[in-house]
C-alpha cells in the first residue's frame, strides 16, 4: 500500500528553483534515504512533506498521504497531521527542543493535542516513551530540562516526541550529524528498531552515504534540487547509473577501503 506519493514537487524562492520536479513514492513500512550535498534541496523536500516550508517558499505539485492531498493545506489543517501521522526528528536537538520546558512536558504535548490526554496521564506516558527510547531513570528524565541532558539523550527525547503518537511516517533529517560517532551508532540502531517495531515508514535525510545505506532500503540521490537517481541500496552500490551518484559511491568506497586496508577488518 502506498503511504506517501510525492509528484512533481517544485519549490521556488522568488525566481530561484530550489527543488525541481521531484517525484517519489513510499510504501507503508518502507524506508527511503535522501542523500545530497548542502543546498541540494533534500531538507526542503522533507519540510514540504511535513508542511514546514518557510513562508517565502512557493511550492507546487502534489503530496498525497494515504491518498489525501497535503499540498495547499492551511497551517491549521496541517497541525492535525504533524506530530500525529507524521513525526519529525531534526538535526540539532538543542535547538529543536524548547529550553524553558521540562522534557516530559514536551513529550506530553503531542499526546495532549492529538490524543486529548490529561497532563498527568500524558506525563506518565512520556516516562514510558523515555524508557522506550533507552533513557535510564525515566522518572527523573521527564523532570529535567534539555540543557541537563547530553546530545545523545536530547536526540532520544526528540525521537520520543516524534514517535509519541505512533505516526505512520517518521522523517529524520540528519538526526546524528551533531552527535559523536559512538553515540551516532546507538541512535541509528534505536531509530531502526523503533521504526521496525512500530511498522512506520521512514524518510532518512543525510549527506552521509554509509549512514543512509545502513538505514534505508532505497536511496534518492539529490543534486541541485533534482532527484538524479532513485534506486535500491544494492543497485546503487552495484551499478549507479548517474555520474554524480557514482562519484558519491566511489568517494564512500574509497574512504571505506582506506579504513579496511588499515584495519584489515573483513566485510560483513
Amino acid at each position: 500500500m502506498t503511504l506517501l506519493q510525492v509528484r512533481n514537487l517544485t519549490i521556488r524562492f522568488g525566481h530561484r528553483v530550489v527543488v525541481d520536479d521531484v517525484s517519489f513514492e513510499l510504501e507503508a513500512g518502507q524506508r527511503l534515504g535522501i542523500i545530497g550535498e548542502s543546498g541540494s534541496g533534500k531538507t526542503l523536500t522533507s519540510l514540504a512533506v511535513i508542511g514546514l516550508l518557510p513562508d517565502t517558499a512557493a511550492a507546487t505539485g502534489s503530496i498525497l498521504l494515504d491518498g489525501q492531498e497535503l499540498m495547499g493545506k492551511s497551517d491549521r489543517e496541517f497541525s492535525s497531521i504533524r506530530g500525529n501521522r507524521i513525526g519529525m526528528v531534526f538535526q540539532e536537538p538543542l535547538t529543536a527542543l524548547n529550553p524553558l520546558m521540562r522534557v516530559g512536558k514536551q513529550i506530553a504535548q503531542p499526546l495532549r493535542i492529538h490524543r486529548g490526554m490529561r497532563m498527568t496521564a500524558a506525563i506518565a506516558r512520556a516516562a514510558e516513551l523515555c524508557a522506550r527510547v533507552g533513557l535510564p531513570d525515566p522518572e527523573r528524565v521527564v523532570r529535567s530540562y534539555p540543557h541537563q541532558l547530553s546530545g545523545g539523550q536530547r536526540q532520544r527525547i526528540g525521537l520520543a516526541i516524534a514517535l509519541a503518537c505512533s505516526p505512520s511516517l517518521l522523517i529524520a533529517d540528519e538526526p546524528t550529524t551533531a552527535l559523536d560517532v559512538t553515540v551516532q551508532q546507538d541512535v541509528l540502531k534505536l531509530i531502526n528498531d523503533l521504526v521496525r517495531s512500530e511498522g512506520s515508514s521512514l524518510i532518512f535525510v543525510s549527506h552521509d552515504l554509509p549512514v543512509v545505506s545502513s538505514m534505508a532500503e532505497r536511496v534518492a540521490v539529490m543534486r541541485s534540487g533534482q532527484v538524479v537517481e532513485l534506486a535500491a541500496v544494492n543497485e546503487l552500490f552495484g551499478a549507479a547509473r548517474h555520474e554524480y551518484a557514482r562519484m558519491l559511491v566511489d568517494a564512500a568506497r574509497r574512504s571505506d577501503d582506506d579504513f579496511i586496508r588499515v584495519s584489515e577488518r573483513g566485510r560483513k
Binding site: V181, Q185, H207, V233, F237, G238, S255, D258, F259, E264
Partner: protein
C-alpha cells in the same frame, strides 16, 4: 631525526563557573599529562570525540594557549620563545571552518600576504602568492576574490595556501574537512596528502573520523576525556586496538553494503 615539537606532561584545566551560591568552583581537566614527540616527517593523527581535548592540545602546541602544567618545546627550546616569529613561520595551522577562519573583508591576496608580512618573510610576496595558489590548485584570477565569492572547498584551499605561504615545516590541521561536502572533502584530503608528500611537511591531523586518519597518518593518538588512552602505528592500533574506547570507536565506523 630532528625533533620539531615536544610536549612534556602537558595539562590544561579550565575553571568552570560555580553552579550555586555556596558551591565550590569546579575545574575541567581538558588535557591531562600529555606527552608527545613530533619528529620531522611524522604524520600523526589525533582522534577522539568532542570534548576529548584534541583542540586544546592543538592550541597548546601552537602556543595559542598556556598550559597549566608541563611545557611545549620547539627544537629543544621551551615556549614561549623570546621571538615567536621563527616558531610561527615553521608551524602553521588550518582550522575546521574556513568561513570563520578567513577574514571576510580581505581579498585572497591579502589573506595570504598577511602571515608573510607579520612574520617578516623576506622573499617576494607576490611570487610566493602565485606559488602557493598553484600548489593548492587555485587559478591566478582568485587573487582578487573575497571569501564569500568562493565555494567551501575553494575557501579551505585558500586557508591551506595561507598556512603554506611562510614555508612551514609542520602543519596542524584541526578537522580540516568536516565542514565540507563529501566530494569536496575527498579533493581536500588528496590535496593535503600530496602537499605533505611533495613538500616533506610534518603533519598533525586532528579528526573524529577514523577513515581520514587511516588515509593520511602513520601514527595515531586516541584521546578520551583529555587523556591519551592509546597510541602507536595507525595500522597496529586499528588492527588490534587494546583500549576499550578505541575498540568502540572502530566498531562505530559506519560500514558500506557490499553491493552486487
Amino acid at each position: 631525526m630532528t625533533t620539531l615539537l615536544r610536549a612534556d606532561g602537558l595539562s590544561r584545566t579550565y575553571k568552570l563557573p560555580r553552579t550555586g551560591v555556596r558551591s565550590e568552583k569546579s575545574v575541567r581537566h581538558a588535557l591531562v599529562d600529555m606527552n608527545l614527540v613530533i619528529n620531522e616527517g611524522d604524520k600523526i593523527g589525533i582522534v577522539g570525540e568532542s570534548g576529548s581535548g584534541k583542540t586544546t592540545l592543538a592550541r597548546l602546541l601552537l602556543g595559542l594557549d598556556v598550559p597549566t602544567t608541563g611545557s611545549v618545546s620547539f627544537l629543544g627550546d621551551k615556549l614561549p620563545l623570546p621571538d615567536m616569529r621563527q616558531f610561527r613561520r615553521q608551524i602553521q595551522v588550518v582550522f575546521q571552518d574556513p568561513r570563520s577562519s578567513l577574514n571576510p573583508r580581505m581579498s585572497v591576496e591579502d589573506i595570504i600576504i598577511e602571515p608573510l608580512e607579520c612574520l617578516g618573510v623576506e622573499e617576494s610576496h607576490s611570487a610566493r602568492i602565485e606559488e602557493v595558489l598553484s600548489a593548492v590548485g587555485l587559478s591566478h584570477e582568485m587573487r582578487s576574490r573575497y571569501p564569500h565569492e568562493l565555494s567551501g572547498g575553494q575557501r579551505q584551499r585558500v586557508a591551506i595556501a595561507r598556512a603554506l605561504a611562510p614555508r612551514p615545516r609542520l602543519l596542524i590541521a584541526d578537522e580540516p574537512v568536516s565542514a565540507l561536502d563529501v566530494l569536496v572533502r575527498d579533493e581536500i584530503l588528496a590535496l593535503i596528502s600530496d602537499l605533505t608528500a611533495n613538500l616533506g611537511l610534518t603533519l598533525i591531523l586532528i579528526s573524529h573520523d577514523l577513515s581520514l586518519i587511516a588515509r593520511l597518518c602513520d601514527d595515531v593518538v586516541v584521546m578520551q576525556d583529555g587523556v591519551a588512552v592509546e597510541r602507536g602505528k595507525t595500522t597496529e592500533v586499528f588492527r588490534a586496538p587494546s583500549h576499550a574506547f578505541t575498540k568502540m570507536l572502530i566498531a562505530s565506523v559506519p560500514r558500506l553494503p557490499t553491493g552486487q
